[in-house]
Symmetry: D2
């Protein structure tokens, strides 16, 4: 198929490569053009609008602001060579997903929200978990492309923003797991027990799952630099959770604790470290 | 070996049976004697002191008060036929474990704390994870017995109370996972997405581990009666976490949220349901 | 002096009347024109721009969105008959205050932020406490006008947004006081003591101050309808506090609790009642 | 009247002196006897039991443990010269107050709980607010004595523990006010505004009351040493609030935040400073 891919950060780059490797024609665009030029097998284009065309166009950008900027400044929705389907892979707000649903409908472009779970290594291996929502026929059309990128596509109905809500729910559970490990670890250390011993035990038994095993190791080894995913981005996700929770009148006291602790971490200079550095807050607050 | 077992609740009964099946002579005592009489292959005794003797004696009781009552009223530590090793399997406070360490030392009985992770079905299958701390030689002595009950014994040093601290850390992570699933589920429902669909996805991928899979299903199906472990006991565990955290000056904001939400659940009549009914709080607070 | 006043809600109306009574010429504009027409002694105008002129123009609107709408749609900053000083009385975000400072500087209009503390009865009596920040000369120019509306003007420097931050800090303390009274009251009731007796005692002694006495009575009497200030607006204020706190990396756990409890109240249908109905959350959560 | 007074700390000493000055015969006892000997006009006694006699005996001790120790080790309830009324002035747990009610009933001594609000200077001036509960005739009997110590006695019924619950509710509101000032101050500082300026404004207007004015000044000046009331004792009070709240199934999220922040303060070495040092937590967490 003939596709465009906009946004070649660590995740986007790995995902676009999967499409190339699967034999598709892939036009790529990135804000800083080097990233586009260096992706072997792909076709770099000069303007985002040139990638926003073909059978499907993917966007994988850092946040609402970045996506708005590309779509707005690029005049994507007013372009002439519009894609049949726009697949939004970014972790964006539920509110923006709703807005995009409306603006795409007016522009007569099918819009599918398909945020993904997985870190860059999973993206490189085509082992992401993809959460998709949108019109059935649109998703069916891009399914072969999603299959090149992920192990499985989980469908959540016809309204695109629901996929974004699911993604946020998952990220919330992820950050909660990290905070719980941080507090458990500080608690153990407070009783003279190495936190890493406790995490090693729990994450290899009751909690033996990708999230706990992976982050348990990162926390135990204090492997916060370079970051796989920055704490600043973690803060963004928690903010999106709180905003979407507020829109639906859902109190989320765990999310509130996460927010306060992430701010504490940022105030102490950890914004650009791996977001598992959140666990340093519990340690510091216990006087260690 | 010749062992005693005190406390035949759902967990204790399954564990004592494992010892019987492994060929040990097992004297059993329970506050309500029917439970002791009905355990095939074991030898019911009339007084707790009679079970507190032999190569090793195990205690598996509901809480600090129950354990204190049995030890104190039973005059166990002053008995003549004292056991070589007392293995405390109960989830008790760090403070009581310290106290027992001292009183047993004075009574010249080796004391090992060995609380366990696992629900009754894991106990019946001998598939518990046992967390043990105490003198090396004492643990070595009872290791064959522990092997009959658990998949693995995790050692945490020579001070018994450390095993209790690890157990509390694990239970804290467990209740935190349940709360996180509850909030995520309420969040999803608030956006028109069935909470169970979100939990099914997340607990079979990123969070695929015994705790999440098991409790995710219980929550999704609302399977809170009869309880495997009551919410009231969950509250007890969180209280022990908070108390031990306070003793070590460790702030634990997640544990504080858990406490408040468990009280909310108790105030709404859920004390004797499965402690996963904690998730009803998030649902109720969101007006559903 | 010749002044304009935009926004004649309960507060604005009382404040504009004070200016009329002090002998100033007051042009008034409101989104729904009846409010403007019925203010005796004032001169209703047809477009907001006509009130945005003269020696000073005041704006007293519900939130960021309302203020942006009036300024933007009204083309106020591009008008020809611009006022010497624009005094923003509304409780708006710190971010918007910063933005207005810049846009006014470009438009060569002095901008002063001057949010107020006090309820409609205090506004009617000219007994508000006004928090002002902006250029000294601009404040000096409007001081006689502020004196007509308030008991005292508290100065917080030359950057307008600081006045907004102070206003938010005060509102945060106010909502915190209400929550504390709510929890204390639920606690008392839980012990068989009428909450109102406890509040009567505490608010007439240690806590004898306008905020506690006033809200203590509202809470004790359950006087939530009609609202003096809606819970929905209280939620807006707490959101502004959290956003401004986030911008400055200040964790605010009390504000987080307030947010969750206000959402709980909204989810239970209390959005349009007096914001002291927040205290119903503590009562409800305790099962009463 | 002929009275005994047990416990001559800063508060007790000032209160006992008020009784002496009012012309009563006052036998005094303190754990460290110097305090008893140096109280002019009072009659020091060698054993607590000697002070637990006469028309009324007062106890003013630091906590549950201290009161239990004096009553138990002193064999007070088994003495021969028992007082007509025992007035418990200490801030103790609701649970202990209930227990004392029962043990005193068996010992045929009237028991009145009468904890007080006020700092040592108010005690010295006889300006305390006294919260009393117990049998009407017992309170009537000691009313002249209470009048010598306080401005007013607030009655809360016949069950002594209710007075203790009211005292805890008041202390909870007090610590909440301090936390709110701390967060507001950190918020202001985060926006470049001196926290003390904001507190000066708010505590002299909306919040002008003894608690806010007094503690606002202590916080603004960082006057934490020597302490009037230590943070460690503040932690004790919050623990009693949480325990009593748990007994009545009342979630108290503000109290939970206070607990975590007080632990943070203790972990950072502030246990023996004035409990207003709690506000240092908000400052520290914001990276200042």
């Amino acid at each position: 198929m003939d596709v465009g891919f906009i946004g070649l950060g660590r995740m986007g780059r790995a995902m676009a490569r999967r499409l190339v490797e699967a034999g598709h024609r892939v036009r790529v665009w990135n804000r800083t053009p080097e990233a586009a030029r260096s992706l072997e097998g792909a076709e770099p284009v000069a303007r985002a609008a040139e990638a926003f065309s073909g059978d499907a166009a993917f966007t994988m950008l850092a946040d609402d602001a970045a996506l708005r900027a590309v779509i707005g400044q690029g005049g994507l929705l007013e372009g002439t060579a519009r894609p049949a389907v726009h697949v939004g892979l970014s972790t964006i707000s539920v509110a923006l997903a709703k807005e995009l649903t409306e603006t795409h409908a007016r522009a007569k472009i099918a819009y599918v929200s398909a945020p993904v779970f997985g870190r860059p290594d999973a993206a490189a291996a085509g082992a992401l978990h993809i959460v998709a929502a949108g019109a059935d026929e649109a998703i069916a059309r891009v399914q072969p492309l999603l299959d090149a990128m992920g192990t499985k596509t989980w469908r959540f109905g016809a309204e695109p923003e629901k996929a974004n809500a699911v993604k946020l729910a998952g990220n919330f559970m992820l950050v909660s797991a990290i905070e719980a490990m941080g507090e458990a670890s500080a608690f153990a250390e407070g009783h003279g027990i190495p936190g890493k011993d406790v995490l090693a035990m729990l994450t290899s038994t009751l909690f033996a799952s990708p999230v706990y095993t992976n982050y348990g190791a990162i926390i135990s080894e204090g492997r916060f630099d370079p970051p796989s995913f920055t704490l600043r981005l973690g803060m963004k996700d928690v903010r999106l959770v709180l905003e979407a929770g507020e829109a639906a009148s859902v109190p989320m006291p765990f999310a509130s604790v996460l927010r306060d602790n992430l701010l504490d971490a940022i105030a102490h200079g950890d914004a650009d470290r791996d977001f598992a550095a959140l666990t340093r807050v519990a340690t510091r607050r216990s006087g260690r």
